[in-house]
Subunit: 336 residues, 2 copies
DNA sequence: TTGAAAGCGCTAACAG
DNA sequence: CTGTTAGCGCTTTCAA
């Protein structure tokens, strides 16, 4: 079945039906420019009667605005994604805009669909876009906001992220000061991901502050990924890792740790404690409930949209938005 | 910062640079109509040199195709959403199309943005769209595929869903035949959701087949929602519900049940068993691991996109795609 | 195999 | 406050 082209009604039909010009209809629809109440009423009636819907493409062409914003991610994966998307979606629709989503899947250069021609602006999540492309877009003045990623030097692209370093630092402080741990293993995230970088720095800073020597043997790759974390921890167990607690750089990898530990018949936290980062929805319901650092993911996403809209409008925005993180103590760290 | 309009290069510049007409450039880009190899080469070179990107809006206006498909959901929520979106996104991008997402948030009539003017077709998830709007879109011949929802009578809109009734039926069969339960409580989903309907029918059919009288007291509202399920089960507990097992109509509500049961200090499965439906990613890691019915959510989403693309192209598609579900036995049902 | 030219439906000056 | 009109950048006949 095909679209029934003959029945498509345009702004012209609406104008005729209402007995006004297309310009007036346009003004009514877009609330741009003055229109008499009577004219407006007639237009609304016509729109209703004809069931008129403006054509987005024509609108975009004529106005050079798409009324859509794009969200660029690497891939649809992980618990992290849900609150992020919820935040973005809510904020976008609150402004009556459309949301385009595209996953770049690593570095697959073969043209990502979103960009300067299909959206008014882009939210670039973490490492979803190579730096060169960010540079290109910035050069042509295309509105962007970076989410969980900082601006390349001297470019001053607004970014919003959370206090990764601080959160990790406080977590390790807690582990050392309140729980008395000294042998703290760290399961780091992907190099390309700035969150991963800062969380590790926070971990190291806390160690240093407590005069605990940094031991590379206590660091392995978690990759912000359940399967990867699982694998790494299984290897650790085989090699007889001697740690009192594992700090997984995100909750997804913490889940992988849990599985690996259970397979090895190690009890959490009796045999080895575990903490994560993010506070995903299910962290509280895991077995045992996961001690973690809460990151305001949804809020960050919402703010990113707000910033982006401002940039699109040409308004000033703060360059860096840093959202606070918060320790959430549950059973997995051995506190209870 | 604003877009730098002056530097925008269009098909005209490309044509000039390549020394051909815009029509030829268009033919090369879209691989429509014959072009000599030399001309094509010149065009490609020009595109490369000028870093040309076609304007989506202009394209859409001229061709009456947007090259985008829309996904309509009620809201971004629940574990269910992630695999669904992953399936849709992968399939969409595999076809080089754009993906638009919009949440309708219940019945908020105030114009949902996606529709016949911004996409080539729509995937309508469950009860995201009121029947009247589906009717309207169908009437104008707009391509649609329904996901987890069947076509209104006589409309023959393709739909893809899973074997809800069969899955629920087999779950209850298992509970009765293998585990020997007779008092099986059911936490049903929202009325508006077809999955909810069929799962309940499956439950009832199995009871009937085993000569177990249907007891309305053993049915409460879970709403496919953790908080709602939590509430309902807490009430049950207060009222002294006497069931051997609770069948939550989806895993999200099963999580709510778990929490409520733990609060009441009832052990799963020793004091009361629990099973769910969907097999979300974390079902295996809950405490205890959740027995459930696996639904191929991601696959269903992928198929929906494939169907939709066919409809858009005017090809024939099967009206109903029913994907099999599968029992996944874990500890929460008392099997081990 | 190619080019000229007519729109696609809408917005935004501009003139009244 | 309102209408006229010139495009927006591209696709697609139609002729050549």
């Amino acid at each position: 079945m095909h679209m029934d082209d003959s029945s498509r009604i345009t702004i012209v039909e609406v104008a005729q039906y209402a007995g006004v010009s297309t310009a007036t209809v346009s003004r009514v629809i877009n609330k741009t420019g003055p229109v008499s109440p009577e004219a407006a009423a007639k237009v609304y009636a016509a729109i209703e009667a004809l069931n008129y819907r403006p054509n987005a493409a024509a609108r975009g062409l004529a106005s050079r605005r798409t009324n859509a914003i794009g969200l660029l991610i690497d891939e649809v994966n992980g618990e992290f994604f849900l609150p992020m998307l919820r935040g973005v979606e809510n904020a976008v629709r609150q402004r009556g805009m459309d949301l385009l989503i595209s996953a770049t899947h690593g570095l697959d250069k073969t043209s990502y669909p979103l960009g300067e021609n299909s959206t008014d602006g882009l939210i670039v999540f973490a490492d979803s876009l190579p730096k060169e492309e960010i540079l290109r877009l910035h050069k042509i003045g295309f509105p962007m906001v970076l989410l969980y990623r900082s601006s390349p030097p001297n470019l001053s692209i607004p970014c919003v992220t959370v206090e990764n370093k601080d959160g990790a630092r406080r977590m390790v402080d807690y582990l050392v000061e309140k729980r008395g741990y000294r042998k703290i293993a760290f399961l780091e995230g992907p190099d390309s991901h700035e969150d991963a970088y800062w969380r590790k720095i926070g971990y190291q800073e806390s160690l240093a502050a407590h005069n605990i020597p940094f031991d590379p043997k206590l660091v392995s790759f978690g990759g912000f990924d359940e399967a990867q974390a699982h694998l790494s921890v299984s290897r650790w167990v085989e090699q007889g890792l001697k740690a009192e607690v594992i700090f997984a750089a995100d909750d997804d990898s913490a889940i992988g740790v849990m599985i690996a530990l259970k397979e090895a018949e190690l009890r959490i936290p009796e045999d080895i404690a575990l903490v994560g980062f993010d506070d995903i929805r299910l962290a509280a319901y895991l077995d045992p409930p996961l001690t973690t650092v809460r990151a305001p993911i949804e809020q960050a996403a919402r703010i990113a949209v707000e910033q982006l809209v401002k940039v699109i409008r040409g308004e000033e925005v703060g360059l860096i938005t840093l959202l606070p993180t918060e320790l959430v103590i549950r059973r997995s760290c051995g506190c209870c």
